[in-house]
């Protein structure tokens, strides 16, 4: 949908709640270089949320929505979890799906949008927790990658099922004690980024959300690559401060500790040659534009 369509009828402008007037005047629909820096300057696409104070997932969600290249033509698919509490407040169409079938729903959705809008940008972005991605949804997640479905999968990895009270998930570390793992998890954290690479994703990034500019870069890359090249996967460490016994202020430090060299969430990126060339091409185009302006 073009930005021009996001206008309020003049007869009703005065009676529209201020947040919708802001959405028209101040939101970054259609802005080419929108990014995390718009947070605080422009209207965010999440109106509000009821997640815990200091929740890294909530931060990540805001960065992601600020970084989508074309939110006015993006549809998201979520899954049951803490993000389900945020999605009703998001000004971008989103589908809840059931639990674990988010990549299947996204496959059908992307195909329908491609049939109905051939040649037009319609991005589909999946956002789900680790339980939904690696346990109950592993089959459908992998199969969407095998089939080369053209959308981005983002996993909010908090290494357990947070919304239901902190149960063990496949992405939990071995030995960690949690509900349903009373004597510690018996097997290793699933190497999902590597599995994603082998399953056909052309771009895989594994990192924390401690640096918003990094999140912005990888989200942009992931969405642009999914348009043209192939499925992309981002696994973002968004610790559940509640379940790991931290305070609201401590989430950021937890992520910084986890991404140090040698630690389990150090930055990892897998990218195919085709994807690399594609991103290089985009960079070159950008430089050209800047050169022309200068």
């Amino acid at each position: 949908m073009s930005k021009e369509k996001i206008q309020i009828c003049p007869e009703f402008y005065d009676i529209m709640p201020p947040e919708y007037r802001d959405l028209v005047e101040q939101a970054t629909f259609g802005k080419e270089d929108r990014g995390w820096k718009d947070i605080g300057q422009s209207k965010e696409l999440i109106e509000e949320h009821s997640l815990c104070a200091g929740c890294p997932e909530s931060m990540a969600f805001r960065y992601i929505l600020a970084s989508l290249p074309n939110p006015e033509d993006t549809v998201m698919v979520g899954s049951t979890g803490c993000t389900s509490l945020v999605f009703p407040h998001v000004a971008v169409h989103n589908i809840h799906s059931l639990f674990g079938n988010q990549n299947a729903v996204a496959s059908g959705l992307k195909r329908a949008l491609s049939v109905r809008f051939p040649g037009k940008v319609k991005d589909v972005v999946v956002l789900a927790g680790d339980g939904a991605t690696v346990d109950i949804g592993l089959d459908m997640t992998l199969q969407s990658w095998f089939r080369q479905e053209k959308f981005t999968t983002i996993c909010f990895d908090n290494e357990l099922y947070a919304n239901t009270g902190g149960q063990e998930s496949g992405l939990m570390q071995k030995g960690f004690v949690a509900k349903m793992a009373p004597v510690g998890k018996q097997f290793e954290k699933v190497s999902l980024p590597e599995i994603a690479r082998e399953s056909g994703c052309c771009y895989v990034v594994h990192c924390t959300v401690s640096k918003p500019n990094l999140v912005e870069k990888v989200v942009r890359n992931a969405v642009l690559l999914a348009r043209e090249v192939g499925p992309t996967y981002l696994q973002l460490y968004t610790p559940c401060i509640l379940e790991i016994g931290k305070d609201s202020m401590e989430g950021l430090q937890e992520m910084r500790d986890a991404e140090r060299p040698g630690e389990r969430f150090r930055y990892k990126e897998y990218i195919t040659d085709t994807a690399k060339q594609f991103l290089a091409g985009i960079d070159a185009q950008k430089k050209e534009k800047v050169a022309v302006l200068v």
Binding site: I8, E11, I15, M16, P17, E48, H89
Partner: protein
């Protein structure tokens, strides 16, 4: 068993849908009042009267007319404003469908998940929904009938709403203007209808020539 009637509430802890109680939607050219099929014109007059007798008449425009996303929406918005002005009715939008968090400001908006809060707060006794997706409209109408005594009117662009106390169907800008015409006729005032494209200035209509104009396909 007596035939079920779709009367203003408060009806029940959990309102049954009128469809399950046997109420059937009207055919094109018809409307319903309390679940009884009537002609469009009958319903127009009834609705106009209801608006004029109300202490707090309110119109609730929804996203399909609040947003200027196509020409039809724009035309309907104009017609709704004319209707609201002639009654006069308050305009309180249904701007979005999510449950409002942490709580709704019932002074400025209505929401399909808890419409009763707005109805109660503003003491609405007659209200009309227009430009709301049918599913959300039906949700609202059931909840309002369940917990409030407000008389609900649905100005529906599709097949109508049997959960409203009065429903129109196939609503267009012309139909909304026609209702405005009825209000102005019963009130004995003229309507200020802005010019069509290319016309020089505002034209004042009385109900007779407005109806004629609408019959011509103009408006």
């Amino acid at each position: 068993m007596e035939k079920y009637r779709v009367l203003p509430g408060p009806e029940a802890f959990f309102t049954p849908s009128a469809a399950r109680m046997g109420i059937v939607l009207p055919e094109p050219g018809y409307a319903h009042i309390y679940g009884d099929i009537v002609t469009d014109e009958e319903a127009m007059e009834f609705a106009a009267r209801k608006f004029l007798e109300a202490r707090n008449p309110t119109i609730h425009p929804g996203p399909l007319v609040l947003w200027n996303w196509n020409e039809k929406a724009a035309k309907k918005a104009k017609a709704i404003k004319i209707l609201a002005d002639v009654i006069p009715a308050r305009l309180i939008p249904m701007a979005d469908y999510r449950p409002k968090y942490p709580k709704i400001n019932p002074d400025v908006e209505i929401n399909p998940n808890h419409p009763n809060l707005t109805i109660w707060h503003n003491k609405e006794d007659v209200c009309m929904f227009v430009g709301v997706h049918c599913h959300q409209a039906n949700l609202s109408l059931k909840i309002i009938r369940g917990g409030t005594s407000c008389f609900t009117i649905a100005m529906c662009a599709q097949a109508g709403h049997e959960d409203a106390n009065l429903t129109f169907r196939d609503a267009t800008a012309e139909k909304i203007l026609r209702l405005a015409g009825w209000v102005s006729k019963l009130k004995g005032v003229s309507l200020n209808v802005p010019p069509d494209e290319g016309q020089p200035s505002n034209v004042r209509y009385n109900s007779e020539n407005l109806f004629a104009k609408l019959a011509d396909g103009g408006g």
